[in-house]
Symmetry: C2
């Protein structure tokens, strides 16, 4: 027998043929009894193997006195014993040949240093024995397709019929609430998994396993922290291949929330802005809270494809139409003017006091004339500019039958997605429509947001299908032996220029004559900047002179800059003065590369010079990315319109900037082993494209021939914050 | 008998002692039968007087053959007859001495020109007869306190028990949906009023009537358009006096929505930004949609006062705590660190794995130890920095009794407001808590938003209580006879200076010698600007020269500016050149006064020079306002931090800018009869405070000795848009 791979073990963990319950209780109200209750009660067809020396049998099942006494190496063991007994049980399980364990027990890393040490010992032991551990401190999981109830969650107490949604949650309590809300909506969970402390198996690994199940159509996750960005990116890519949307809610968006997250969960608080940007880059939909998650799941669970972002609205209330049109504009949908043929069709069915535009106001008249509603919505969905439709109505308690017939007919006569938004709907109406696979919401703005998510998801799939495969990363052109810390400006400029990044020409002058020679070479006005590994804020000490364009000025300038630096920073090593050709450009960008503690090399672009700091108008992407992604990045900036020219200023070439960003991202990815950070600030953009006029490149400590292993997370996060701060300071 | 005032008639309309139903039907399913059904069925105690020649009696009530035959001049008549018969019925009612009418009939201004003409005739007739008309094209209204069902709304079909909320809606269909949602939440409507076309009585007039009812504690309104801003401001002020919160939802926030509003409702689409700013200025809470409205109503219906914006959070899930803390920060609440005494108290009750910070994580342990939850929340609410608390939990289907007891005890032991947020709550739990007047939500972010609304409302009441009464408006110092259109720069500068607005000194030079003389007077570098009523964009034709500081430069400059203007605009009347002392300031504001079609004189302030256009970073206030309001205005700007200094720039005096805005607002209010618009762009702000360095003042057409009456709305709106556009252009 070959040793199964980790992913094989995880696949078996979520779909076991036999389950041992360690510490099983005959009291089904107890944590250690509840899995048995549900496994038996809900009809698990595999073998159930309770282990507890106290009982010879539980509910007719043979109960084994010890792990050693188990008749087989079960595919999965549930461990529900006190924390202090977990390690020895896991060891016994491993020795009995059991490879997958879910541990309910709390009292580990969530309980301070002693607990943390115990958790580390647990992970080490499990890994040594080739085992996979889910938890500890988790509610366990449900595989509703196979009636696997390896959980003590309250959620299992109600009906848990399987459906197309797989839900993995880092939080037990919040996750249980979300699962219950999914049930309330009549959507089914195929999988419900609580990952707990993730001592071993992670959120992404478990999600990666469940999305392979062909019965799963949509993946939903609740996150509080994330250690491994690569795993999440791999998961997102696999979801994209499978064309299964992944919806994530992650708490900890703001400073106060991050503080709370740090104190509550101990999870690493990934910088939210980067998380948000990177998951969008890879087609993951982010839901800001549980309600929006449910709305997105409801929209995405349907089979229909939105081939564009045009929203058609049919409503019984003009005001509701206005509200939805407003929201549509805010969330990136259009509310297109209808084609003349559609307008003509609508004119034949509409009452005189209705409105045949978009939104279509069918008024309450459809109660008397059902065809009014049917034909209006069909016409709307037939319009070439409409890709998704929402029908808004309210109450109509007396007309549920009629309306269910109308919506069924609309469903049967159309192929584009449409949502019913039924405010203050009779419960019966919601249930019947959902049984007919008709997507239904109960609030207009939420229906619009869900439509936008659907459109965005399908747009991403189209975009991803059209993208060229990414070429191999470039050679970095670095020498074999490099030093850590701030790199010499002239070298950094040279490397970046060779990599294809537009840099203002710059070289080091060690004396005034060299400076004059460089000025002559450039045949243009020059800037002089002090060069020292010890001076970061050159401007602050008067170490920068601009626009020098005659021999005397350059000569004097060199002396001035050197003298000022020597006076202000007597300890600093002064290597000379950087002579740089002045560049022009009426738009100022800030561009940078950061090493994100979770996602690795990340490129940042911002607009607005001094205002970058005030407005935080920056966009991030994980490196590497293509030019189209660079263009999307620019469009994300709030001040993006500046690039097109305002108040008579000429616009600039977005493609050229995007191309610079993409080139930089590929270089940054290749530099992953050594690069700590890079700031190009400012990058000036004029009619001839972007050019970086300042550059600070920092290599990692202990970098070079001997790249370090994964850094300690805390340190990395600290570095990253210091870096961000620095980006926003003047030099 | 004295003639009753309009407000007396409206007060009687909503609380009539007798109701005539014109066109009453014995078929209670019909629009004209439904009011009778509910008046009888729900126990209206006044006299019901059906009028229809077809029946001698309906449901035991005498039915009168004609209006003339009515035995009394009923306090209210319901008119439910075809549109073409409305006018003659109203006339007959007026002659019979009936002063208040609600007209259900549609087919008026919502149906095009003919309908509009009919509606105007109706209004004219009613006014001539001293009558008040609600509608037409409305669902009518309910006064649930007195069982007045002058409506055919579906809402009346269910239970309509009276409660503390008065709801007035311009939309019938959407309004009915909102009323039904209020009922679903277990909140009661005291009044439900649909205003329809508002041919006569307006939204604000009806709301003004209902808020006087002492049983009403909260007012809620749904708006699609607004003609009369003064009325709304009066309403807001009255609500403030009565300490009754007013919550408004208005659709038409975005361009697409406004377009839809224009086509659907015909209502005037008030510029939403101004609406939003003005209602906030007067303490009105805006709910962006019906769900947020309900959340706010739920929070505001309680009696407890939030004396600050500190939010305490107790939760069963760390993640939910993080999410709520995040949202709190976004909506203006703080999540304060707890006082040491609170932390000590929490430490004594908390389990080791909980968290005693804020959020407090009580974990699920409270099921076993109820005092854990009770004592934690009481300690939280006792903390001096906590002004409102939210307790988050989920499911707990088996523990409803226990939790209801816990929350009742918390209620009894505390006086600060607290909300329960119970996700996926059993329906029974929600109902029981609401019966105990314990405010309960079902989603964390929504609970936080509602808490923010409560805190904001009470902060407004405190602020309004502390504000000094506004002094009389200043004299404008205008001559008796003034001309319409663009005013001469020198005069405008003089008037504004006299009014106390800091203006860069400027005067007209008709020749070069006068220009030189002015330069000598100012003893400072000057700007020269062409002066012509026909040239708005002075820079575009080279009509502006800056920083001239010697005699020859000023002389040449004068000639240059005059020649360029003559060459580029040969038809323009050139009055000379404005000579203006140059001002300094590193921050650029744009300040303006606009005549809003709905709210009248409105002051605008923006930041960011060229970026004002890109970011639309502007704030509005209705004139006049005090300095504190000016400061709030500045704090609203997204780039407000610029005023405090960034990247080593020094900060500026916010009070001085706010004072300028306040002075300008009082001058603008005094200038209401004549001022069309004023732009001060830019206003430079440096260490010595703000100074306006350009000024365009426009008086209204036909202004002056003979101020025009209310302008046609459409025209006013057109003007206003043109003006806004102009503000964003360079001169």
């Amino acid at each position: 027998m070959t040793t199964p791979s980790r992913s094989d073990i995880i696949a078996r963990l979520i779909n076991p043929r036999s389950i041992a319950v360690i510490g099983a209780s005959a009291d089904f109200a107890k944590v250690s009894g509840r899995p048995l209750k549900h496994l038996i009660g809900k009809g698990y067809e595999g073998r159930i193997l309770p282990v507890n020396p106290k009982y010879p049998e539980i509910a007719g099942l043979t109960c084994y006195p010890s792990i050693e006494a188990l008749p087989e190496a079960a595919d999965l063991a549930i461990v529900a014993v006190p924390a202090s007994d977990v390690l020895k049980n896991v060891e016994a399980l491993g020795k009995r040949g059991i490879r997958a364990v879910v541990i309910f027990s709390s009292g580990f890393s969530e309980m301070g240093a002693a607990g943390k040490a115990m958790e580390e010992a647990l992970t080490e032991k499990a890994n040594a024995l080739g085992m996979v551990v889910c938890g500890p401190n988790c509610l366990g999981f449900i595989n509703a397709f196979s009636n696997v109830y390896a959980t003590f969650s309250q959620y299992a107490d109600g009906p848990t019929g399987a459906g197309p949604i797989a839900f993995v949650t880092q939080s037990g309590a919040f996750g249980t609430a979300i699962a219950a809300l999914v049930r309330q909506r009549g959507l089914g969970l195929g999988y419900f998994i609580n990952t707990g402390n993730e001592a071993d198996v992670s959120f992404a690994e478990l999600m990666m396993a469940v999305i392979e199940d062909p019965r799963v159509r949509v993946a939903a996750g609740y996150l509080e922290g994330l250690e491994n960005g690569d795993e999440l990116v791999r998961l997102a890519r696999r979801c994209q291949e499978l064309k299964k949307p992944l919806v994530l809610t992650k708490v900890g968006r703001m400073a106060s929330g991050v503080r709370a997250a740090a104190s509550h969960t101990g999870a690493l608080a990934v910088t939210d802005t980067v998380f948000d940007a990177v998951i969008r880059q890879f087609g993951v939909l982010r839901a800001r809270n549980e309600e929006q998650m449910l709305d997105m799941l409801e929209a995405l669970a349907g089979p229909r494809i939105a081939t564009g972002n045009g929203l058609g609205i049919a409503t019984q209330s003009g005001g509701a139409g206005v509200m939805m049109a407003d929201r549509a504009e805010e969330v990136g949908l259009t509310v297109p003017t209808l084609a003349p043929s559609t307008q003509a069709k609508l004119a034949t069915v509409m009452p005189a006091f209705g409105a045949a535009g978009n939104p279509v106001d069918v008024t309450g008249e459809f109660v008397a004339r059902p065809e009014l509603l049917t034909e209006s919505v069909v016409a709307l969905l037939d319009d070439p500019n409409v890709h998704i439709a929402i029908v808004w109505l309210q109450l109509m308690t007396a007309h549920v039958d009629k309306l269910v017939r109308i919506f069924t007919e609309i469903r049967d006569r159309t192929s584009k997605p449409f949502f019913v938004c039924w405010v203050a709907a009779p419960a019966e109406a919601l249930q019947r429509l959902r049984e007919l696979n008709i997507t239904v919401f109960t609030a207009g703005e939420r229906a619009v947001e869900a439509a936008a998510a659907l459109a965005r998801y399908h747009a991403f799939l189209r975009q991803a299908a059209g993208a060229a495969p990414s070429p191999a990363l470039p050679a970095t052109g670095l020498p074999d032996l490099i030093t850590e810390g701030v790199q010499p400006t002239a070298l950094a400029t040279e490397w970046l220029s060779k990599a294809g990044i537009p840099m203002a020409p710059a070289a080091l002058a060690r004396n005034a004559d060299e400076a004059i020679k460089l000025w002559r070479t450039y045949a243009a006005p020059v800037a002089l900047k002090i060069e020292s590994p010890d001076i970061t804020h050159k401007s602050d000490i008067g170490g920068v002179l601009l626009n020098l364009n005659d021999e005397q000025a350059v000569r004097n300038g060199f002396q001035t800059v050197m003298k000022r630096a020597a006076d202000k920073e007597p300890e600093a090593e002064l290597q000379g003065v950087i002579v740089q050709a002045m560049s022009r450009g009426h738009i100022e960008l800030v561009v940078g590369v950061q090493r994100d503690p979770v996602f690795g090399m990340v490129v940042m672009a911002g607009l607005g010079g001094v205002l970058v700091e005030v407005l935080k108008d920056v966009a991030f992407r994980r490196a590497p990315f293509d030019v189209a992604e660079g263009e999307r990045m620019l469009r994300e900036l709030r001040m993006t319109a500046l690039l097109d020219g305002v108040r008579g200023q000429s616009g600039v070439d977005r493609h050229a900037i995007a191309s610079m960003l993409s080139t930089l991202s590929r270089w940054a990815a290749a530099m992953e082993p050594v690069l700590a950070e890079l700031d190009l600030n400012p990058v000036l953009v004029g009619s001839s494209g972007p050019v970086a006029v300042d550059c600070v490149m920092v290599f990692r400590e202990k970098a070079g021939t001997n790249p370090p292993d994964k850094l300690q997370s805390k340190t990395r996060e600290g570095n990253e914050h210091a870096h961000q701060k620095r980006l926003f300071e003047t030099r």
